[in-house]
Amino acid sequence: MKHVKGRAAVLLASVASVALIATAASAQTLKIAVPTFLTGGSAPAFGIPAKNGVELILKGINEGTLPAPYNSVGLAGRKAEPLFYDEMGGGTKQVTELRNKAQKEKVDMIVGYISSGTCAAVARVAEEVKLLTIMTVCGTPRVFEELVKEPKYVFRTVAHGTGNNTGAAHYAAKMLKDELKDGYIGLNQNYAWGQDSWRDFNLAMGEIAPDVKPAKKQQFPKLFSGQYGSEISALLRAKQKVVHSSFWGGDLEAFLAQGTARGLFKRKTFIFTVGETVAYRLGKKFPSGQLVGTRGPYGIYAVGIDTPLNNWFQKNYREIYKEPPSQPSYQYAQGVLAAKYAYDKAMKDNGGKFPTTDQVIAALRGATFTSIAGTVEMALSHGHQAITEDRWGLTAYDEEKGELVVKDVLVLGAKCVNPPDGVESVPWLKGGMKGAKCG
């Protein structure tokens, strides 16, 4: 019995060596690890559209068929191969996976992450394992304001959550004046993103429309509960006409079905801060006249934007996946574009040689690059956090196009809805949003 432990250790050492040999093989093509939700409640709303966005943009990059300025083949000449893996399982699982990708499979970079929880968990570890990590969807401002104050390897190529809710407040104050007479109320899932969204929106409204009062009690149903009978009754009883909600995915679809059955959307105007992916899929069934946000020029708001890259993306995406590209498709593709921009610029900056990771990082830090439907400015947190313009509008179903569209669109400048560099989001909101340049 004594040597049972000894034998187990020998077994482990052999398993480890086998794994090491396997990774040495393919050195030529770049390996991009792409964490996205392949299972669970977030897969249909965010996970799969994001995967499709990366597949499409990489096909274009590897074949060199993207319009200028991204028409060169590959990243700094080398083709790139996506390695999709499931973002399910919570922070612990994703930290272990990140370490496996960095140390076992030795990937060149990570482009992805949807859930704020995962971003909060992996931020520090990415710096520790020195792996270029481009966060593409998660919105918690805490990544650079609390967790990694001096980032080197971690970037985020999408605006963080604050811009989303500030934009909503601007739009509501300007376009929903009469609905706001009786104030506004919140319906957010009881987890970090829901709590942060309500806090930011409430603070922004306090600054932009101080005379409009929120309800005394907000609704915070459990995440993924799927049963909203009581919440709908509470909302119907409340006098407030405007409801702020950060619902998304399955919960939003369930809420819409149960709400429509009770005529809720005829009496209230909803601000769905991240409702675009669901709105697009429900199309005709999505109640018209509601506010839908995408945290930047993506998905439904990018349909009208006439740039060669956007037209290419819209046409090809609809052909292959038989549905319009939504917010996560744009955001993940934008992450890959940021990598290509950095690799190409780094190669050019040091005489056409294939760049080292540090050179790529230097090229991306503080850069401004044209994305699919707008420009991205890496303006905050030492050039690691992007800011983009934000667009808001009311939904309406377009009969001939057979697709949901937005009308009364208001474009809010990047500098208007995001805090200036060096100022954290909550203090900025509480301090009256000083330095915001709004049109």
Partner: protein
């Protein structure tokens, strides 16, 4: 019986030496797996102590979560990152909670004990997910661990943490082993077999269970503290949600109740299966885990260690036969 005693102590010490030696060669990602196995193994050890007297807890993520969150909160709000201090607090807080809940839980047996633990762990999950001061569902990240004056950087940090955790886990395993061999520890089977007789021997079965529950809470908190330092982040979904408790019971069943070293081997095997299943079959990794657990429950209900026991019994059985033959 006495000869058996120090064989386990020897096995644990050799195991420790092996772990420290392996620590020098093993790649970084594998060291994290070993560290997590030590953490999860400790919680499974806590379950083993309870399981021997017929009690299974479906909510042990409660103590795992408490241990981990205590460490995280100390680092965040007190700014103390010293491993010795934080781990001690984690263990004491989790143990204290177990001691308090013990007054209530010691009266329950079987499925009621299991479900009451589940209920408490879900209440903790609700609190952690709700309170923004506890980081809500995003969780809390930890600064780099320091060891008294020594504050290693990057990979060296994990290297030092591994040695620190291996030695402490060795100590915990020995302490639990000693406890199980003590009179109080031996009462586990007595409690399961016949509580009335125990009362009439002058000791209360409920107090015995209370002591066991407190120990399992202490060890659970220890596992949680190690996990928090290894991962560097705590969040409700990976620390207090009910499938996490399911994982611990999985490991406990996988390893069996034969020996205090078994849960750590069980935890390592569990982690290897999960990592392998997650890499090779991303779509059906849960199916593989479920399938493995089914096989174990059906064909090996008292865990891998029962193989070792059966193998060693056959050997001791043969010794006894030879002894008789010589005598005759």
């Amino acid at each position: 019986m006495t000869k058996y005693m120090d064989r386990t102590t020897w096995a644990l010490t050799i195991g420790l030496v092996l772990l420290i030696v392996v620590n020098f060669f093993v790649p970084e990602w594998f060291r994290s797996i070993l560290l997590l196995s030590l953490a999860r193994g400790s919680v499974a050890l806590g379950l083993l102590v309870l399981w021997r007297c017929g009690l299974i807890s479906f909510g042990h993520a409660l103590f795992y979560g408490f241990g981990a969150y205590t460490v995280a909160l100390i680092v965040k709000y007190l700014g103390i990152t010293d491993a010795f201090f934080t781990i001690a607090c984690g263990v004491v807080v989790a143990g204290g909670l177990a001691w308090m809940l013990g007054f209530l839980l010691r009266r329950y047996r079987g499925i009621f004990f299991a479900l009451l633990n589940l209920a408490f762990s879900m209440i903790l999950y609700g609190v952690l997910a709700k309170l923004e001061s506890l980081g809500s569902t995003d969780g809390i990240s930890l600064e780099r661990t320091t060891f008294l004056w020594y504050a290693p950087e990057g990979a060296a940090n994990k290297f030092a943490l591994f040695i620190f955790a291996a030695i402490l886990t060795w100590g915990v395993a020995l302490a639990v082993h000693h406890y199980l061999r003590s009179t109080l520890g031996y009462m586990t089977t007595a409690v399961r077999e016949n509580e009335i007789r125990l009362e009439f021997l002058g000791y209360s079965a409920e107090r015995a269970i209370h002591v066991k529950y407190t120990i399992s809470g202490l060890v659970g908190g220890f596992g949680g503290a190690i996990a928090a330092m290894t991962i560097g982040h705590v969040d409700p979904d990976s620390m207090a949600y009910w499938p996490i408790s399911g994982d611990f019971v999985f490991i406990a069943i996988l390893s069996g109740t034969g020996n205090v070293g078994a849960p750590f081997i069980g935890a390592l095997i569990y982690e290897l299966i999960r990592t392998y299943a997650f890499d090779q079959f991303p779509e059906i990794w849960q199916l593989i885990m479920g399938g493995t657990l089914l096989l174990i429950v059906m064909f090996l209900p008292n865990g891998l260690w029962s193989l070792v026991d059966r193998w060693s019994k056959r050997r001791t059985g043969r010794d006894r036969l030879e002894a008789e033959r010589e005598k005759a």
